[in-house]
Structures are given as structure tokens and as C-alpha cells.
């Protein structure tokens, strides 16, 4: 009875059973679907991961900032110019110019004010230095001075609030005493409104911590003294550490309440501040200006353009060289020394210029000053810098090198172009290096956090978006620097290897398939053995083929695969680890695939076609060549192309037969040593540095594009030929 109820249920329990079975059915249906979807999800994850690594933000740090390279170069020009007296003591400069009617020099406005009775200023670009021209920004040799704080600090610390208020109210009156110009009135009013209602000086007590620019330091110090004189009971500590270090103390370490700066805050510093919850308030407190001064006896030099300033303080030796209107008198220069911030400022403001704008001569000078002579010689032997003179190499040695059996390439090539020299300066002197990278998704969603993080971890680095896959990446040879590395040698290697592979395996594979399908009698044991053997070979791991290739092609057939039998082998490749070894190894590997695909294609050709051909008196081969093969061709080609894509992606056998790890020259023929795309990807992936992962991802994009193109060709061929037949 119970059994009957179980196997043949009725009524309510029948309905329940049916429901249960249907429920099970739909649950499993979704499980099956989910399993299928997992494969798709993995595919998406795989592609996402590659794109995520191939693009993204990078922090680039240079060994030397290009700007400072230009500045140092210009300073060197100024210091080493003829008739130049340098001194860190401004009084020496003033005395020098006062006592020399050909004298010319520059220094901070403050020192001019002290000596304005026996010196005369020169207008620059037609604008004389004055409070007005400096304030409205028209005088070229001026820069604004700032202090930075935040609304939160002002709200939390009444002493800071009172101090900043006092600073803005009083700086205009005392700034002349320390040698600077006041900030424009509107700017001060705007600053005052930014800080809101200040605390009273009498309520304020405690410490005020300030750090930053050495230029702003005397102003802040003066204000602090006055502030204390006005009744502030607490302590004001001011450190003169430079704008950048001050910003760092303010934004990153949060160790000071106010940062002094002689330049505006950078984007990275602002982000770093925000990352710590500090929104910096920018308050301009004055302007710094340099003046160019001459002896009052000099009546002609009243107005100079900024272009004239450059030769005036470097190359020119006589006033007449600056302008034809000036007399032919020598120029005597009195300028601050290398330790002075004034020299830096003048160099940037008067000489200016980007590294990329410099003429070839200057770039070569910079290069020569910053690289070793040995490296310079090597570069010069690769390609000369000038056609007529040598920079690094001595003329005798050069002649010797060029007269030798193997002359350097520099002996014949034309001289390097300006762009080329500029690139060398970037590579060898500036040396931009990626110090950290971020994946694409992170770069897009957390941009500001990343910039802030970079400002903390790599204060000297700039953060930029980088695509690791670029035109240069595809066309550059391998390099040990990930930023400069490319895949050209690998792509060419892959094409050479695959060419050899196809030349070998296509005819042999199709031939074997024809034999097995059209000639071989299935009864003969040899034929059955061949068939079984091919099926088994298709399942042999690729690495085993690599070992076969290593034993046969690399070792046994070394005289052939190294090209030694043709006498073409050079010493570096004579070990048989060449393109032809790789191509033949991969040829053996894909042979079973091509045979099996071709067999299927041949089998699909209807027997009636063969019978019709035989009936007309064609021989067996004529039947195969003119009728069977053309019909089977689309199938054979599709199979071959799929086998080709297998061969292009193969890595393990080529590692085993000994693909070269580092090849920078293009392969020249079947007997060259080689590297291929997958090997390149493998080697880059296996390295611990993140940047190599990035270029590996870029190389994967190249490889997948190549494979996609091949497979699309296969689909196209299949469709086209099957339509015709």
C-alpha cells in the first residue's frame, strides 16, 4: 500500500509530486545556465584584467627635473660669463656697481631701496619696477608671495586666526621694509573675506607654527614680531625650509598651521592636503621683485627687453652686442652666487625656456655636463653629434675607429638631429622613471585619492594617465627599461617562426591527410598505426614537443639549424637555438591538428565527385588535385588557420628549445636567434616589478589582436568558399 502510494500517487500527493519535480527541474535548469555563464564571466574578468593593467595612472619621477636642468645650465652660463663678479653679500654687489660705470647687476628690490640714491633701475620690456607694475603683474621679474592655511585651523585655533588677520591687515605697511611689494588691495580684501571673522588678539594664546619659503620668511618674521609687540602672549615659530618642504609639512605631516610659499600650490599638493581633510586657503601677502640695476653714470641702458637680459648676463662681452645703439664698452657683471635663491629666481624669470625649446648646442652641453665620458663616447660612436667636430671622442681615436675593419656606425651616419639629442637628454639625464602604477578602474574612480597618495609617497613625481600600449610600444625593440621597451622584435620573431611553421606543416599535413583518406587501405596495420599515432600525438603536451625540438633540431641538427652549413652563422647564433628550430618544432606540434582537420574536410567531399572524375578517365592524382582538394580547401584552410593561432600562442616549447631572453635586433632570417610575443609576455610577467606587468598586458593586447585577426580571416574564408561551392 505504501509502495503503491509512493510510485503511483493520487490526488493531493500527485500534485505535490509534480510540483516538486517541476521545481527541481527549474532549479537545475538555472544551475546549468549558471555554470555556462561562469565561463563567460571568467572571459570578461580576463579581458578586464588585461585592460585594467594596460592603461592607468602612473607616477613618473625624474632623476633631475627638466626645469632645474635648464636653470642650472643657465646659472652656469651666468656664473662663468666674462667680467662677472659673484657674491652672496649684496653689499659687495652694490659697491661693485657703484664703483664701476660699466657695471650691471640684479638683486632683490629691498637692497635697491636701501641704495636707490647711487644706483639706477632698468625697465624690463618697457616697464619700470614699481609697486603698481608689480602688483598688476605687468613687470616680468616679479612673483607673488603666499601664505596657506585652512578654514578648520582658523576655526580651531584663535591665535592663528588672529595672526592671519593681523598679517593681512598690516603686511602692506611693513612689506617695504623687508624688500617686497605689497599685494594688490583687492587681493588683500578678498583674502580677508576668505578668513571670515577673526579672533581678537587678546583672546589668543598658545603656539603658532609656520614653515616654508625662505623668501617669505623675513616678511613673516617681521609680522610675527609686530604681532607679539601688539600684545600676543603666545609663541610664533617660523622655519625657513623652502616652499616645497613647507607645503609638505603643512599638507602631509600636518605639523604646521601656516605654510609660507613663494609660488602657488600645485595640484598634487592640493590633493595631498585634501586627502588629510585640509582644504588649503590661498592668501597672497605680497610680491617679490628683482631689479636690474646699473651705475647712474650709465645713461644709455634705460630699457631692456627680456630677450636682451639673456646675453647681457651670459655671452655678451660689450654693451654694443646687446643693442647697436649702445656704446662699445665692456660689460662688468655683479650677480649673486649659486647659493642664492635670487639667482634661481632670475634664471627662471629672465632666461626661462623649456628643455625642449633649447637649441641643439645647449642640449649637447647639458648632455656633456651630465653623463660620463665613456657613455658619451659610446653615443658618439653610434652617431655623431656634429658633422664637423667631436664632443667626447678624440680625433685620433676616431680616425682609428673609422679606419678599422669594423667602423662604428657613427663614421657613416649623418649627425644627430636636435630631436634626437633632446631624446638622449631625456633618456640619459632626466631619466623619467615610473615609480608607481595604478590599474585603470582605480585610476578612473579614485583619481583624486591617487594624486594625493602620490604626493605623499613620491613628492617629486608627477602623476599622469598612461596607455602602455602605444605606437612606440609596437615599433620599439626590447629594452630593459619598461618605459622604453617595445615588442617589435617579438612581433617580427613571431611572424618568422609562424612562416616557417606553416611552410613545413601545411604541405606535410595535407599530404598525410590525403594519404590516409585517399590512398591508405584501412586494412594495412601500418596505416592503422599511422592513424592511431596521429590521434595520440594530438594529445601530447606541447612541452614534450619542446624537448623533442631541443634534442633533435637544436642539438643533433645543429649544423643545419644554426646556418653553419651555409657558412652564414655568426658566433652568437651558432648554437641552433634559431628561428628555424622554433618553426620546425611548432610545425611538428600542429601537424596532428592540421592532419585531423584536413582529413575531416576530405571526408566531407562526396564520393560521387571522385567517381565522376574517374569516369572521365582521370588518374587518381588528377582526381585529387583538380576535384577533391578544391572542394576540401575551405575546411583545410580553416583548420590550418586555427592551428596557426595555436602555434602563435605557444610558449612552453619555445622556452624549452631556448628562445633568447633579450633580443634587441630584428631577426634577419631563419638562422637568427629569436624571441616571440608569448615569450616576451612570459618573461615580463615573471618579473616582480609592476611596470613589467603593465607592458606584459600591453603585449597581450597585441597578441590577442593578432589572433583575432587570424580567426576572423578563418571565418571569412570559410564563409566565402562555402558560398562559392
Amino acid at each position: 500500500m505504501a509502495d503503491q502510494q509512493k510510485y503511483y500517487p493520487e490526488g493531493e500527493s500527485l500534485a505535490q509530486q509534480i510540483n516538486r519535480r517541476h521545481r527541481n527541474g527549474s532549479i537545475w535548469r538555472y544551475l546549468f545556465l549558471a555554470s555556462t555563464v561562469i565561463a563567460i564571466v571568467v572571459l570578461i574578468a580576463l579581458l578586464y584584467n588585461i585592460l585594467n593593467q594596460a592603461f592607468g595612472l602612473v607616477a613618473v619621477q625624474t632623476m633631475i627635473a627638466p626645469d632645474s636642468l635648464v636653470r642650472v645650465y643657465n646659472e652656469e652660463l651666468m656664473i662663468s660669463a666674462s667680467n662677472t663678479t659673484t657674491s652672496e653679500d649684496d653689499n659687495v654687489l652694490v659697491e661693485g656697481i657703484v664703483g664701476d660705470e660699466n657695471g650691471v647687476g640684479f638683486f632683490g628690490y629691498a637692497y635697491f631701496l636701501k641704495n636707490n640714491d647711487h644706483l639706477r633701475t632698468v625697465a624690463v620690456d618697457g616697464i619700470a619696477p614699481s609697486a603698481n607694475t608689480v602688483a598688476d603683474g605687468s613687470y616680468p621679474l616679479a612673483r607673488p608671495l603666499y601664505i596657506y592655511t585652512t578654514a578648520e585651523i582658523l576655526a580651531e585655533k584663535p591665535q592663528v586666526s588672529a595672526f592671519v588677520d593681523y598679517y593681512l591687515q598690516n603686511s602692506s605697511e611693513v612689506i617695504g621694509d623687508v624688500g617686497y611689494f605689497p599685494a594688490p588691495a583687492e587681493s588683500l580684501t578678498a583674502s580677508l573675506s576668505k578668513i571670515g571673522s577673526p579672533a581678537s588678539i587678546n583672546d589668543a594664546a598658545g603656539e603658532i607654527l609656520i614653515a616654508g619659503s625662505s623668501t617669505v620668511f623675513p616678511l613673516s618674521q617681521r609680522i610675527a614680531d609686530d604681532f607679539q609687540a601688539a600684545g600676543f602672549a603666545g609663541n610664533v615659530s617660523i622655519e625657513s625650509v623652502g616652499s616645497t618642504a613647507g607645503m609638505r609639512a603643512f599638507c602631509v605631516d600636518e605639523s604646521v598651521d601656516i605654510a609660507n610659499a613663494s609660488r602657488p600650490i600645485t595640484q598634487a599638493e592640493r590633493e595631498a592636503c585634501r586627502a588629510n581633510g585640509r582644504e588649503p586657503l590661498e592668501l597672497q601677502v605680497g610680491n617679490d621683485a628683482l631689479v636690474v640695476v646699473v651705475n647712474p653714470a650709465n645713461e644709455f641702458a634705460t630699457d631692456l627687453t627680456s630677450e636682451q637680459l639673456t646675453p647681457l648676463f651670459s655671452s655678451a662681452s660689450s654693451w654694443s652686442e646687446i643693442s647697436s645703439a649702445y656704446p662699445n664698452q665692456p660689460i662688468d657683471r655683479y650677480i649673486p652666487g649659486l647659493d642664492s635663491g635670487t639667482l634661481d629666481f632670475f634664471s627662471e624669470a629672465a632666461f626661462g625656456g623649456e628643455l625642449s625649446d633649447l637649441p641643439k648646442e645647449d642640449l649637447i652641453q647639458i648632455l656633456a655636463a651630465n653623463i660620463s665620458v665613456g657613455l658619451g663616447r659610446r653615443l658618439e660612436r653610434d652617431q655623431r653629434f656634429y658633422d664637423d667636430t667631436l664632443i667626447f671622442e678624440s680625433q685620433e681615436l676616431w680616425n682609428e675607429v673609422c679606419a678599422s675593419d669594423e667602423p662604428a656606425t657613427g663614421c657613416t651616419l649623418p649627425a644627430r638631429t636636435t630631436d634626437d639629442v633632446y631624446r638622449l637628454v631625456l633618456e640619459r639625464v632626466v631619466e623619467p622613471q615610473v615609480v608607481e602604477t595604478w590599474p585603470l578602474l582605480n585610476s578612473l574612480t579614485n583619481r583624486s585619492e591617487i594624486i594625493a597618495e602620490a604626493a605623499v609617497e613620491h613628492p617629486d613625481a608627477t602623476v599622469e594617465f598612461r596607455s602602455w600600449l602605444t605606437g612606440t610600444f609596437v615599433t620599439s625593440p626590447q629594452s630593459s627599461e619598461p618605459e622604453l621597451a617595445g615588442v617589435r622584435t617579438a612581433i617580427l620573431g613571431s611572424l618568422w617562426v609562424i612562416g616557417i611553421t606553416i611552410l613545413f606543416s601545411f604541405p606535410v599535413g595535407v599530404g598525410a591527410a590525403i594519404y590516409l583518406e585517399e590512398y591508405a587501405s584501412k586494412e594495412k596495420p601500418i596505416n592503422r598505426m599511422i592513424q592511431t599515432n596521429i590521434n595520440n600525438l594530438a594529445g601530447v603536451p606541447s612541452i614534450i614537443y619542446g624537448m623533442l625540438g631541443l634534442a633533435i633540431f637544436v642539438r643533433v641538427l645543429e649544423t643545419f639549424t644554426s646556418g653553419a652549413f651555409l657558412g652564414t652563422a655568426d658566433g652568437s647564433t651558432a648554437n641552433g637555438r634559431t628561428i628555424i628550430s622554433a618553426g620546425l618544432t611548432l610545425g611538428l606540434l600542429i601537424l596532428p591538428i592540421i592532419i585531423i582537420a584536413s582529413q575531416e574536410a576530405l571526408r566531407a567531399v562526396p564520393i560521387s565527385l571522385r567517381q565522376a572524375s574517374f569516369g572521365l578517365g582521370a588518374t587518381k592524382w588528377q582526381t585529387i588535385w583538380f576535384h577533391v582538394l578544391p572542394s576540401a580547401l575551405p575546411g583545410i584552410l580553416t583548420g590550418t588557420i586555427l592551428a596557426m593561432s595555436r602555434a602563435i600562442g605557444e610558449t612552453a616549447p619555445l622556452v624549452v628549445i631556448g628562445a633568447s631572453t633579450f633580443v634587441t635586433v630584428d631577426p634577419t632570417g631563419p638562422f637568427s636567434k629569436f624571441t616571440v610575443l608569448p615569450i616576451q609576455i612570459y618573461q615580463w610577467t615573471a618579473r616582480p616589478q609592476a611596470e613589467f606587468r603593465n607592458i606584459a598586458a600591453a603585449a597581450i593586447v597585441v597578441l590577442l589582436t593578432l589572433l583575432l585577426t587570424l580567426n576572423a580571416t578563418a571565418v571569412f574564408l570559410r564563409n566565402r568558399f562555402s558560398m562559392r561551392s
Partner: protein, 334 residues
Amino acid sequence: METADMRVTVQQDAVSERDVAATLKKKSKVGETLIQGFLFLCGAISILTTVGIVYELGKEAMLFFFSTEGVTVGGFFTGTAWQPAIQQFGVLPLVFSTLMTSTIAMLVALPLGLATAIYLSEYASQRVRSTLKPILEILAGIPTVVYGYFALTFVTPLLRSILGQDVVQIFNTASAGLVVGVLIIPLVSSLSEDALHAVPQALRNAAYGVGATKLETSLRVVLPAALSGITAAFVVAISRAVGETMIVALAAGAGPRNFAWGDIVGNYSATPFNPFTSAETMTGYIVRISGGDLSYDTPDYNSIFAIGLLLFVITLGLNVLSRRIVARFREVYE
């Protein structure tokens, strides 16, 4: 067409019909025999390949076994430490690591591949199938080095963030095994689907006729009927997982995980059976040694051939087994 044209030309030039026939016969016989000979040679190259593999691997392996100091055949197969520098040549650490990655791979590929095959063969409409199958083919066509990159830069960090940085090492067999599993899903699903597809529709109709649901038909009628083909697919997949190289070379670690038998009970995490520590597999070892600067006829160089021979025997055995299964247990439907 061209054949007929040729015939016409030949006939016009002929002196007498009998002569032509005779010449043609003679000529074509020689040509045809040459061609057939060439084609046979093409087929024979595959035999030569196998012979070459067996001979070369065997020869170098013999050198390793019989003329390397410290190597004994027994020690090779039972030793639990692979340290050529101090003449310990026990292959078990490498074999067990391979076993580990292959097992993890099969745990992934077997259920997912089979479920995918059942879905595609029994459930999916023609349109869904024609969308999903190319995607699986793409998955199968991606080079293994790309999967290796995926394992190292995506799966490993994922595992480490889920299970903890101190539990999962940067190189581990779990990550490699999971990705090898993904790699062979298309193989399992496509071979299994072929087997399921070959089951005659009449069997399904009969099941529906006695009131079975689609699930019951698929699992209790179609699946058992296709079992031999599916088993064969699994065995081929195992062989593929054992021979997979680039994924394990990149993600599983470089250095054999030597162990002592006692550790398996007492200190499990120090053995190759701990999926979260680095452990070098047989293929990983071959790639690492041959990728370095290797001089011929050193113990290291010869050892890769011994390991290669072992690998070849294992995979060949699995492939032959798979064929046997199909041949012996195949249900033949008239």
C-alpha cells in the same frame, strides 16, 4: 574541366590512339607512384615524431638514471626531496604538485564543463547555443601564457584578499589549478556535448512518453547513455591538465616543495598538498630549468628528459585509456 581540356589537347597531338594510351599509362604510373610515396612519407613523419620523442627522451633519461651520481630508479620514484645540488633526486614533490593542480583543475572543470554541456545540448535554444558556443571557443583559443598572466595578476590577488595575505602565498597551486580548470572547461564541455548530442532523439522521446521531466530525461536517460563519451572527455581533460605548462610555471611557484612522509599527517601545510603555498610541478620544473642557461649533459639537463618521459608516459596512458573507454563502453544505436 581542366582534365577534360587536357585530354582533348593530348588526343589532337597523338599519332595513334593506342600509342597515346600506352604513354599515358606509363607516365602516370610513375608519377602517381612517386606522389603516393611522397604522401606516405608525409604520414610517416608522424610515426617518426613519436619514435623521436620516445628515443630522445628515453636516451637522455637513461643517461640520467644510469650515469648520474646519486640517481637510482627506486630513489627517483619514491624520494620525497628534489635537490639536485645535494644529489637528491626524488620526483614525488613534483608529481604531487602536478597532482594537486590537476585535481583542483578537474574539480572546477568537471562540474562546470558537464553542466555547460548539458545546458547547451539539452536546454539551450538554437539561438542561445549559437551565441554561447563561440564564446567557449574564444576561451579555448586564448594562449595559455595569457591565462598564466590572469592567474598571477587577478586570481592570486583575489584569493589573497578573500582568504588573507598570510594564508595564501604569492605563488600557490590553488590559483594555478583554478585557472587550468577554466582553461579546460571548453574541452570538457565540447567533448561531452558531442557525446550527449550523439544520443538518439528516440531515447528522449521515450522518456518524455512515460512522463519524465526534462531534468529527469537529461540526467537519467541521456547522461547514462553518453557516459562513455563523457568519461573519455574527462580523461582527456586530465591529461591536458597534467601537461599544462605556462599557467603553473607563472602562478604555482619556482622551487619543488620537498616534504617528509610524516608531514602529511603532522604538518600538512608543509607538503605539496597545501594548495596555498608555492609548489613546482613537473612541467614548471622543465620550463624553469630549460629557460635558464643550461649546459648539455649535466644532471639538471638530463633530469628534465627523465621528467619529460614520465610526463609523456602519463599523458599518453591517459589518452590511450580515453580511447579504450570509448571503444569498449560505447553504446551503439542502430
